[in-house]
């Protein structure tokens, strides 16, 4: 069982359901996306722990999704994308083969302004048992 690959694939597949959004995936070079509404996901896995004596492991973590909106386009478009991400993941159990990824919480992080964009952060917290 490739638990961590399954987690990554499950979350990425779900995010791909946002068809009309440009996704800047990690470790992939993109050109021409500047100045467009786009998202950038980053996966962070927390330390796994043993849950019981039968050897069940709990693997928690979160997917940080940065939402980039060009300056001057208004914060409504930023909020709209964040809402779409929220609705996409809320109360979901993602399945990749026999692996189940439980979405625990979706929270909005701080927003900030970069050179050409307004950036909002959404964290999707998950837990996966193995």
């Amino acid at each position: 069982m490739a638990i961590f690959a399954d987690i990554q694939n499950g979350l990425a597949s779900k995010l791909n359901e946002l068809n009309d959004l440009i996704v800047d995936w990690e470790n992939t070079k993109y050109k021409g996306n500047e100045g467009k509404v786009r998202i950038h996901p980053q996966l962070a896995s927390a330390q796994s722990t043993l849950r019981d004596t039968s050897g069940t492991q709990e693997n928690p973590g979160f997917l940080q999704i940065d939402v980039y909106v060009p300056l001057g386009s208004g914060t409504k478009s930023l909020t709209s994308v964040i809402d779409n991400i929220y609705d996409l993941f809320k109360n979901q159990i993602l399945e990749v083969g026999s692996t189940k990824i439980y979405i625990r919480q979706i929270s909005r992080g701080p927003s900030y302004r970069s050179d050409s964009c307004y950036v909002g952060v959404v964290d999707v917290y998950y837990t996966c048992y193995d």
Binding site: A46, T49, P60, G61, P110, Y112, V121, D123
Partner: protein
Amino acid sequence: MAVTVEGIMSQASENAKFEAQFMANAKIALEAAENVTKYSIAELYRLLYDNSVVGNPAYWKTPPPPDYKPGTLKKGWRISFSGFRDGDGQFTSASSIVQNHGMSLSINGGTKTAYIFNNTPYLERIEYQGWSKQAPNGFVRLAILRFTSIVDGNAAKFRTK
């Protein structure tokens, strides 16, 4: 069934014994719960302190100022059981910490609330914007994710028999 004075006295004595036993057990359980809360919060605080990144000029593009001393972020963690208090003991608030781009959390442990916070103004950038090569995904949220297992571990440790 005949009701006798001796019978009533005996029953009262049994009730008193039961009450004393119950109160003793309740005290042990409450102490155990308090220990679980106390040790778990302390462990989370230590985790945040230990995992705080310390500036390493070897990673920097520009040299550090001559009087640069690393460790500001690590030393910036505070814990209090009486609200958010800054270094001078004056009260501040969660919103003022957020405005300063620091981070705060409050943990309600039943009888007490613990306030853990760090007012260092670049913590938010390290946590959310990937400003540290040592912790590109931050470290605060990852520490908080471990809190449930920390509580479980301490609950097992202090479980009453």
